[in-house]
Amino acid sequence: MFGRLTLNAFKHDLIEASVGVSILLALIAIVFLLTYYKRWRWLWYDWLTSVDHKKIAQMYLIVSAAMLFKGVVDAGMMRAQQLLSVGESFGYLSTPHYQQLFTAHGTTMIFFVAMGVISAMINYLVPLQIGARDVAFPFLNSLSFWLFASGNALLIASLMVGNFSGTGWVSYPPLSNLEYSPGVGVDYWIWSVQISGAGTLLTGINFLVTILKMRCPGMTLMRMPMFVWASLVTLVLVVFAFPILTATAGMLTLDRTIGTHFFTSGFGGNPMMYVNLIWAWGHPEVYILILPAFGIYSEIVPVFSQKKLFGYVSMVWAIVAIAFLAFLVWLHHFFTMGAGPNVNAFFGFMTMLISVPTGVKIFNWLFTMFRGRIVFTTPMLWFLCFVVVFTIGGMDGVLMSVAPVDFQVHNSLFLIAHFHSVIIGGVLFGFFCGFTYWFPKIYGFKLNEKWGEYAVFCWFFGFLFAFIPLYVLGLMGATRRLDHYDASTGWFPLFAIAAFGFLVICAGIGFQVLQLYISFKERAQNRDTTGDPWNGRTLEWSTASPPPLYNFAVIPEVHDRDGFWAMKHSKTHKEKPKYEDIHMPKNTGQGFNIGVLSFFFGFAVIWYIWWLALLSIIGIFACLFYRLFDRHTETYVSVEEVERIEAQRGKV
């Protein structure tokens, strides 16, 4: 009846159980609060069924914030284990638990935090920056989010029912084959990645079409804001790369469930093929994460330097070059697999080549600041920290592209330090930078600067303390994913410094929470009534903060790059705009329903509960058909309604 699911799945050791119980308690608390404040209808009609890209973006933010919290807890537990598990002592975590932690940490941070915040940014900003009222396929957008959320939920479920994978976040076979990982862990990994990956692919298609088809009049490709350019190229990468992930994970599933031999050792299977395929997705994925962050910096630097972006055309070509090269470097993740010197040299050279357009972007930002008037707000501080950390990370990225050097640092903590430098320093700092900058647009008031600054400094120095020692440890021969090491290695003091750095980062997170709380409390003083609190340059600042449901009462027309800047500075007389009925999509619950059913489907396949899998598939198709034959999917916002909303603009 319940496949592999027996009571044993609920038995955990004390530490694992306490994590599960605290998640359950948190869920119960949320249900209680919603009931107590009678918010269920509000939750359903205003949020869960919403197809508004601005609301979907905020839901991405909430999910990613929760997952970030989980990922950070994972990191802290690993750091503590490495402090305690030296020589005679074996620490406080069992080996399987520790291995699940680093797998879950990687999976969470890449798929659910980094991808989540990137999706949030693209969702919120792209339509606003191109002067559109919504995305090309609003229902698809809601569906994408719910698939993403359902992938997250599966990972969380693994904390309570059964366990997660312990094979590392890319799950190399043969370790991830049934032979060596017979439990449900790898299946949890596969399905949480598979379902959220499907969501990401749909987001990719949706926003690609949105950018290509829905730009406002006058916005040619070469007039698009740089964030939109970065998003466009990112989405192309998503569309090309994610099917590889789906296919690869699909073949691994077949190996595990019906006994095929794509990636098994023996029987003609080839694990090396998996390694190639997963990185053929995995390397573009890295650029899927970093390019939007580059876009964010390209928006922030001109605004706070009060100067036009330097070298726009160069910037565009740099992004395009990075995206192209992103597909030609996957082999640098496994120089040590024994490819010949010619192959290694080719992929090494391609990898180095990527540093050229990346460097160009940095120089262009620096020369945007040059002869500007730089205001050191928190977004600008995030940018400066990014330049420092990312340059360090980029430099050792190039070092590792020299294959013989890579033989000596591959899979060591040097590598770990490298990709945390580029992902924390690049993506996460970029997100924080953008979040602070666009916060007044989303919520209508600015964030507190002082606490924000403390957060920047703690994150920055915390990062340095946590990861610079890892570079040294890697060179000392410390490999990744160790739950125990010998005292004679002499690594302990460096692990201790890294643990201290982790605490400083936690202080940074604490300041961010405090910043949100204080800013919310003092929101009356920091209210943005103009819609343009920073003297912005792009279209999203031309509408109210927060923007009305339909984004723009009148679709703007641009005549230049930095469209809104040109509008503000043009001498032409502004007539009172003439409003029309606005055509908008209606909310629908089908995205949510399919998300929930996908969760059940994933859960059923993981535990071999075939009847439930079948039922959920039928349910998913039923929802889809219901939606396909639903003819009442659109609605109009009347002129009177638009006038009423616009008249209120700027009034509290």
């Binding site: 370790l175 090396m272 330097f310 540093s355 620096l366 013989p404 610079i468 990744r480």
Partner: protein, 287 residues
Amino acid sequence: MNRRLKIAFFLLVLFGIAAIALLFIFGDRIAVLNPQGMIGEKQRDLLFVATILMLIVVIPVFALTFGIAWKYRAEKKSTYHPDWSHSFLAEAVWWGVPCLIIIVLGAYTWKGCHELDPFKPIESDRKPLTIQVVALQWKWLFIYPEQNIATVNFIQFPEQVPVNFEITSDAPMNSFWIPQLGGQVYAMPGMRSKLHLVANVPGDFRGASANISGAGFSGMTFIAKATSQEEFDQWVESVKESPSQLSKDEYIQLHKPSQYNPVAYYSSGETNLFNWIMMKYMSPTTP
């Protein structure tokens, strides 16, 4: 610019100095920077060359970042050109110079990839020693086909004699790495990877698996001991006197998963055991 920013900058400089100091404090313990073998030395030299080439770009980036941020802060009211956004010359410089650096580094990489290819035998007038390496769950089995001995989690070999490692796995994928001697290569089931290393001086060098292979992975460490030729010969004799023999049955016992294995010695073994282990994966039946 406010005081907090100045303090932060000052701290950053301090941190940079401390980080560089760290390299010196731990100096002789940093295996990759203090290799004891010819291959490791060449890899380190390449690391230094690449670092210096990168610093040609990185140092100006740091200098420009803080220099520009300081000079063009809003309060100072320096030259202000809000619409200056293009300069062919400047952009040509930062597309061009990095390209040149990459070409130089690329040439080093090409040369390095061929010279330091792990599969390439080391040229030497000494006759090389062959050691066959099998990654198991979760220990390393070393077979000396010429000496007809085998060991677990320990190898000994003469200094200045090239060692030809032939590597496979009868377990999930592992990576065979002795940081003080030189870079690593994956150990994969059904595959024979090769790694050629040499120790310049006698010493005990730490070896490990660098690729996650399951529960006992952290315990897959071993000692690689380089000694004089005489000591090595004596050691081989002493291992030959060891009572256990590595027959196929004994191997099947050893193959069972176990963690943190102590060092073990086997006097003689099944001939061609290594091939048998590799070829199991080629047959259409259960390995």
